[in-house]
């Protein structure tokens, strides 16, 4: 006789939280979470309490006060009567400038070095290996300081350009002044300028955009679209008739003529640097601090990029090279058409983190007196107002935002180009 018995109804006992494997992991997590929250709460509470006892209050009102200090490199208008917020914004723009310049240069140099390191030529391979090991294994701060020291000590001071028989002269047809304070290059000027448009009114982040520049960019973008349409047309003709029409002079015309017309219409001319008073005046002034920081950051990061590129290329099996060779492609075309396009997909994810590193490393700028976000908001502003907590917190938030934006853009790009597995 078979009796069907229900499985015993297990009552829940507290000890099961520890001894029952179904609940144990949950218990551990909850305990850890409580511990973490307590710790965080303690830190925050302690901070607030201690700030209160030392009579300091937390607030961001200081951002509206006049900054009172000057910044040498300003991409948009600024004077020392503007607010701390504006100064921080100037610093942020400087950070972004050096980060963008650095990322571009690091990528170009890195790819070249990475490819060359795989060269069958012994000398080139060894030289690039030395480059990579040298830059990778010395702290970037030392490279920054070292580059700055070289610029300051080896280049002539502006006073060397003075006199009837100067020790130093302008380079490149008397147009570029290379001094130990920086490099002055000719600046583009427009004699029939369209003026600027003013954005964001009177807020701390207001700035002007040059209409000349906008027009020029619009025309060039339009030309590129035109050239593309021409290329599509040529492709279609080739498909249909088997003959490709000669279009290079048309393409050149489409690309160059409209831009030239705009430049002439706006009265484009170059403003040359000229020694006046203590310094060169006129021209675009690339400060030493910017050059040193930019060079050091990009050469340092390029060493890492080179290794990533080399790894990416080595990740493509030699069968691909052999197959391409069997099809009759020359080595240069194999690299350009077969290997690199595939390698790039392997390269991009680690490349993102190198871009992030470069951007974050740019906060070492103060070592050479480059006024980036760390130098303005988390440097002088913090020092003059005594708002350490707020300034550092705000600075962290901004760096976080920059880094996450770079990640987002690069991840989007990565998703577009990554290997689609079938």
């Amino acid at each position: 006789m078979a009796t069907v018995t229900d499985p015993p109804k297990a009552g829940f006992r507290l000890s099961m939280l520890i001894y029952d494997t179904r609940y144990r992991s949950m218990t551990i997590q909850v305990v850890a979470l409580i511990g973490f929250l307590l710790l965080a709460g303690f830190l925050i509470n302690n901070t607030i309490q201690n700030l209160a006892t030392s009579g300091k209050s937390i607030g961001f009102g200081f951002l509206g006060e006049p900054a009172g200090y000057d910044i040498n490199q300003v991409l948009i208008e600024y004077n020392n009567q503007n607010s701390h917020l504006r100064a921080a914004f100037i610093g942020l723009l400087n950070t972004l400038l050096v980060a963008v310049m650095g990322c571009i240069t690091a990528t170009i140099v890195g790819v070249i070095i990475g490819v060359l390191r795989l060269s069958p030529n012994w000398l080139i391979a060894k030289l690039t290996a030395i480059y990579v090991e040298m830059f990778r294994n010395v702290p970037v701060l030392l490279w920054i300081v070292f580059t700055m020291a070289i610029l300051i000590e080896t280049l002539p001071a502006p006073s060397a350009f003075r006199g009837d028989d100067p020790e130093a002269t302008l380079k490149l047809f008397e147009s570029v002044a290379v001094t130990n304070r920086g490099v002055y290059v000719p600046e583009p000027l427009f004699s029939r300028s369209l003026g600027d448009i003013h954005l964001f009114g009177n807020s701390a982040v207001n700035f002007d955009i040059s209409l000349d520049l906008m027009l020029l960019v619009a025309v060039i973008v339009g030309s590129i679209f035109g050239a593309r349409a021409l290329k599509r047309h040529a492709d279609a003709t080739q498909e249909k008739t088997g003959k490709r029409p000669t279009t290079w002079y048309l393409t050149l015309g489409i690309l160059v003529v409209p831009a030239l017309i705009v430049l002439i219409a706006l009265g484009f001319h170059l403003g040359y640097p000229e020694l006046r008073g203590f310094n060169f005046q006129g021209g675009t002034y690339l400060r030493n601090s910017l050059i040193a920081l930019w060079l050091a950051l990009s050469l340092y990061t390029a060493a890492f990029v080179a290794e990533i590129v080399r790894a990416g290329i080595l990740a493509i099996s030699t069968g691909q090279t052999e197959a391409a060779g069997a099809l009759g492609l020359r080595p240069k075309r194999i690299m350009n058409l077969v290997i690199l396009p595939q390698a790039l997909r392997v390269i991009i994810p680690p490349l993102i983190s190198q871009y992030l590193n470069l951007t974050k490393n740019s906060s070492l700028a103060i070592a050479v007196g480059y006024m980036d976000l760390t130098g303005t908001l988390m440097g002088i502003t913090m020092n003059q107002t005594g708002k350490e907590l707020e300034a550092v917190f705000l600075g962290m938030l901004i760096y976080l935002a920059i880094s996450l934006s770079i990640s987002a853009v690069m991840n989007w790009y990565n998703n577009r180009v990554r290997l689609v597995e079938r």
């Binding site: 830190l43 925050i44 302690n46 901070t47 309490q49 201690n50 700030l51 006892t53 030392s54 009579g55 300091k56 009172g68 200090y69 000057d70 910044i71 040498n72 004077n79 020392n80 009567q81 020291a149 300051i152 000590e153 001071a157 502006p158 006073s159 130990n180 304070r181 006046r276 008073g277 203590f278 310094n279 005046q281 030493n288 601090s289 974050k360 906060s363 103060i366 070592a367 007196g369 006024m371 130098g375 440097g379 002088i380 020092n383 003059q384 107002t385 005594g386 350490e388 907590l389 550092v392 917190f393 600075g395 962290m396 760096y399 976080l400």
Partner: protein, 339 residues
């Protein structure tokens, strides 16, 4: 790095009050050493000598406090601070006092919550230029490139000076005196500006000191003095009166040479007697030994001796007393009565 910086800032803020609330005097006595913030290296004011010992005018204040509190002028842990790090170091309790040519200003006193205990050097901001530039006045500096230590009052004075005089300039922000010197000597900046005493000190280390001139304009008032945190007045009193003891000792002619003799027994001058502890109990009131001031003068010297030995006219720095003479000699130094 950013994260640890934030956590650091949180901890700093966390520690600040603990340190502020506790009695610093007891802490120092228990620890056996005084943590004193000084500059990273300004010759004559605070710089390590050839054997690595810190020496200088500001360093002497640290040593005086150590002598008064611990009876040993060498029981000092010197913490080099830059213009940027000094206030955080003091607020966080990393150092007990700061003696680093720091200007006494309203906002530092009131807003940053520090107590300036006095002035040990009356200074003003000046400009140094190479002679070959042919500049004779700061008003001729329109368009010049100016090296400046970042995070200091000089930065703000400079901005004001050029704005008021309707001149432009190119600031080159620098972290330390040594970097400024390098850039200035290489000609990467035309002008170096800081407190006039600092300029003299820096110039003294140049190979050709005579090739550089300090312009006559003094564009600001820079009363430099030691400071402590708000909230511990007892400790503030100790530092304040240690400084005053040095100043008063000079006024009454007590020197390191004669202090031993003068403190043997009460003399004719009741003020000196009270200072040296042969009469009254001033030391006890401060929470120190009765002969605290004697120890200072014995081991460090009075204000005049320290001045002459570190930055005076016979040293390479070659500063004259000027405003820093005793009030009896036309200067501004004036120690309140020891009574």
């Amino acid at each position: 790095m950013k994260k640890s910086l934030f956590l650091g800032a949180v901890t700093v803020a966390g520690l600040a009050a603990t340190a502020g609330a506790a009695a610093t005097l007891d802490d120092v006595k228990a620890r056996g050493t005084l943590n004193c913030g000084v500059a990273t290296g300004v010759p004559g004011f605070a710089a390590p000598n050839a054997s690595g010992e810190w020496e200088g005018f500001d360093v002497a204040v640290c040593r005086a406090v150590a002598a008064a509190v611990l009876g040993d002028p060498t029981a000092v842990e010197f913490v080099p601070t830059t213009g940027k790090t000094r206030f955080t170091a003091l607020a966080s309790g990393e150092i007990d006092m700061l003696a680093r040519n720091t200007t006494w200003t309203f906002s530092r006193d009131v807003d940053l919550k520090f107590t300036f205990v006095g002035v040990n050097y009356y200074d003003g901001q000046g400009f140094m230029v190479p002679k070959e530039l042919g500049v004779s006045s700061a008003k001729e500096l329109d368009g010049a490139t100016v090296c400046i230590q970042t995070g200091t009052t000089t930065e703000l004075n400079l901005a004001d000076f050029f704005r008021v005089n309707n001149m432009s300039y190119e600031p080159v922000p620098i972290e330390t005196n040594a970097e400024a010197q390098q850039q200035y000597l290489a000609g990467a900046c035309d002008v170096y500006t800081t407190d006039a005493s600092g300029l003299a000190a820096t110039r003294s280390t140049f190979e050709n000191a005579t090739d550089h001139v300090i312009l006559p304009e003094i564009i600001s008032k820079e009363p430099l003095g030691p400071l402590v945190r708000h909230g511990d007045s007892e400790w503030g009193d100790v530092v304040r009166w240690s400084l005053n003891a040095m100043i008063a000792a000079e006024e009454y002619g007590v020197t390191s040479a004669n202090v031993g003799e003068m403190s043997m027994e009460a003399g004719d001058n009741p003020e000196v007697n009270r200072l040296l502890g042969t009469e009254g109990n001033l030391g006890e009131m401060l929470g120190l030994e009765g002969d605290w001031a004697k120890k200072i003068i014995e081991s460090v010297g009075n204000y005049g001796e320290v001045f002459a030995g570190t930055i005076g006219e016979s040293t390479p720095i070659g500063l004259s007393r000027g405003l820093n003479a005793q009030w009896t000699e036309g200067g501004l130094l004036y120690a309140p009565p020891f009574r």
